[in-house]
Amino acid sequence: MTVVGRTWNRLTLPGKIVFTVVPVLVVLAVAAVVAIALVGETVLEILGANLPIVRFVVAATAILLMTIPTAFLIIYMEMKGIALMNLRIGPDRVGPFGSLLSVVHGLKVLMKEDFTPTGADPTIFTLAPVVVYLSAVMALLVIPFGPGLFGVDMNIALLYFFAIGGLTVVGLLMGGWASFNKYSLLGGLRSAAQIISYEIPLTLSVVGVLLLAGTMSLNQLVQNQAGWFTDWYIWQQPLGALIFFIAATAEANRTPFDLTEADSEIVAGFATEYSGMRFGFFFFAEYVNVFIVSALMVTLFFGGWNAPFPFPATSLALDPASLGIGLLILIAVVPVVATLVFAAPFWLLRPTWPAWYGLVIGFVLFNLVAVAAVAGWAYISFDWVAGLVWFLAKTYFFVFVFVWMRGTLPRVRIDQLMNFAWKWLMELAFINIFITAGAILVVEALRSGS
């Protein structure tokens, strides 16, 4: 047996896959580069002619990739946040303040055995996590993250959102049914009952906003709320916002409405039989759903990417090219000078330290200041940066509220859950619609009369 053969036999299965796939990918990439170099003009022309399609593909890929760090961040927030509420320390081993623990969790579920129980329907069992995860990602496509930062600008974005959000229940039901487990079956049935019931107050609660805005496009809705924070719809629709938040909690299967995965009753419900990355998809989808409902809450009622106050009109028209040779000098001189300046206090105040300590600290400090300066410059110069910052800040506030509720509240019972949806939330949503419509009529009559 040759050396190559022996080495090949020693590889584990992932190793064999990697060593087969990587060369193929390299060859393909080289071929693609060569092809673009040869027929680059044509490719660019084709891409330019189909700009909307290219934009959509790029946006969809970006959003698909964005869900992973988002889920990691929210999982970390939840682990740490609930730990602090429980008077525990929480994750503190992997990475600074344990912040990489959720990444390790992700790797762990990737490496675990992907187990299909006897009696399960393998096709549906495998497809269920995909459906759940994709419905979450597809709903994210219409959320405006900032001015110009959105997947698709639909004029029926809100309807699309609710339609796609309703797909989740199909995935959960599939998982619950195909698992061949009674806990899972109960979990699937509970999710069907719960999500479909809460879809109604959820949809009705935003009708007030739609009446006020006269549009279903989320971009348009956000632009309507521009200006001061008093222009946000929360002030005109407090009841609608409350109903939306409660119903959205149920939609995202979060405490106190986490009956579908009630761990003390039906032992994780639809996810009982799932392991490995299939469970990982369910797990990720839950946190992506939390992000989505928070994002929609912000978009509808809290001004989306608008700052609570109007943007300062100053635009720092700094064109780097206008500096000419000055730019070169700036790049060459400023880091050195700044590092020395930041290092100087340490040299003066800590004479016992070796000199390079001060240099390292100075360099780190300079980098921090530079990053802050660039971020500040980007915030002032590009309105999409400012919009993204405000949008994420508001969204993560609501994500924190979800975490907070998980740390505080027990779970409701299924009959209480149903009663609450049908006897309270739906009636309140109808009242909200009538009051809003009446108020609009009155205001219009007053305006036309005066």
């Binding site: 429980n86 006897t118 761990d263 003390s264 505080t408 509240l409």
Partner: protein, 406 residues
């Protein structure tokens, strides 16, 4: 019995070999022995069995309950016991009187002093021993501490079974403090093995007293703060109010004791009804509630914690000096006869019935455990209830499976 029987189940290893694997119906692998069993294990249209336990997050140990459900409604249920059975009574009949005390501990692994106590009391009756008063005070003091730790944990687990994550950790703060201070005199954190025939194993020491003082200074406010998270929580109160209601006469007929009985309005407390140890000298109330539901049982435990704090306070003030062990020979040979001793534990009446034939081992030894008697009322409490209610009812009864399965 053949494996082809209608009642053959996958629990039977023979079936696993030659039939389809993966079908786990919780049907026993033998023909029905009673009418009740035959009725229970027959499914009507739309019903199915679901197996809760023996390892399920909210069965408080290894209780297994077979539920017959129709959707979310529980039609009927059948507790299956014995997963923790060790044959303690028989073990004790073959052990020295001193050794039996160690066998008592794991029966009540949350508050293990209360299973040692009736055993040593029964032997003391057999031996006609006068226990020193300091030892009695120490028993009451450690026992009430243990009662607080048990009740605190019951509150936390009640919330955990309803889906609340935080209260259990707050409860464990209290419990941790208490087991640490008990560990400083007994050497153990969980199964103390502290009471001896004629006294206790060790006197109070400085470590214990300083921990107790620190804890007592903040215990009341701390417990108030912990309960605030649940008592004013609308979801928690609504899920428990009117749940698992039982009236006092039924509770008596089902042999209930302890906080669960007092929550139905009957002020029966063995510390007052059949006084033992130094309880007649101590001043404390017996809290009762009239509702008899899960919320009443939960609230009654909080009231009992406050009374226990009162008792601890009095014990510390009135504890006399003196010996902690009566003078006894190394080898105990009590007179032939029988003795019964009962104490009021955190779950109800713990009692021991011991018969001596004049040798150094008990001739017969029987344990009365309250958890077992509370579990037999599941069917009464669960009438027309949902699956999720079973977890709340089970948590409010607060059973310990060690004592149930013996």
């Amino acid at each position: 019995m053949t494996t082809e029987s209608r009642h053959a189940s996958a629990d039977d290893p023979r079936v696993l070999l030659d039939e389809q694997v993966g079908v786990f119906e919780p049907v026993p692998p033998y023909p029905p022995r009673t009418e009740r069993e035959a009725e229970f294990y027959t499914l009507r249209d739309g019903e199915m069995f679901i197996n809760i336990g023996p390892h399920h997050p909210s069965t408080h140990g290894v209780l297994r309950v077979v539920m017959k459900i129709d959707g979310e409604n529980v039609v009927d249920l059948d507790p299956v016991l014995g997963y923790l059975h060790r044959g303690v009574e028989k073990l004790c009949e073959n052990a020295d009187f001193h050794h039996t005390i160690a066998y008592m501990d794991p029966l009540e692994y949350i508050a293990s002093l209360f299973c040692e106590w009736p055993a040593v009391m029964a032997y003391e009756k057999l031996l006609d021993v006068e226990v020193p008063r300091r030892a009695e005070y120490i028993r009451v003091l450690t026992g009430e501490l243990n009662r607080i730790s048990s009740h605190a944990l019951a509150m936390g687990f009640h919330a955990l079974d309803l889906g609340g994550l935080t209260p259990i950790l707050y409860s464990f703060i209290e419990r941790d403090e208490i087991v640490e201070m008990l560990a400083s005199i007994t050497g153990q954190r969980m199964l103390f093995n502290y009471f001896r025939i004629g006294g206790v194993n060790g006197d109070l020491n400085h470590d214990f007293m300083s921990r107790l003082g620190t804890w007592m200074s903040r215990a009341t406010t701390q417990i108030e703060a912990n309960t605030g998270l649940l008592n004013e929580n609308e979801i928690f109160v609504r899920r428990n109010r009117g749940l698992g209601t039982i009236d006092s006469q039924t509770a008596l007929r089902m042999c209930w004791t302890g906080p669960n009985l007092r929550a139905t309005g009957i002020p029966f407390d063995i510390r007052r009804a059949h006084p033992y140890s130094v309880y007649p000298e101590l001043d404390f109330d017996i809290p009762t509630r009239s509702e008899g539901d899960a919320l009443a049982r939960y609230l009654l435990r909080i009231d009992e914690i406050k009374q226990s704090l009162r008792i601890i306070d009095q014990c510390l003030h009135e504890m006399p000096d003196g010996p902690i062990m009566a003078k006894l020979p190394r080898l105990l040979r009590p007179r032939p006869g029988r003795a019964f001793a009962a104490v009021e534990g955190p779950r109800g009446e713990y009692a021991i019935y011991a018969v001596s034939d004049g040798t150094d081992q008990p001739f017969r030894f029987r344990i009365h455990d309250p958890s077992f008697l509370h579990l037999q009322s599941f069917n009464l409490l669960m009438e027309g209830r949902l699956i999720a209610d079973w977890m709340a009812i089970n948590a409010s009864l607060d059973p310990i499976m060690g004592g149930v399965d013996k």
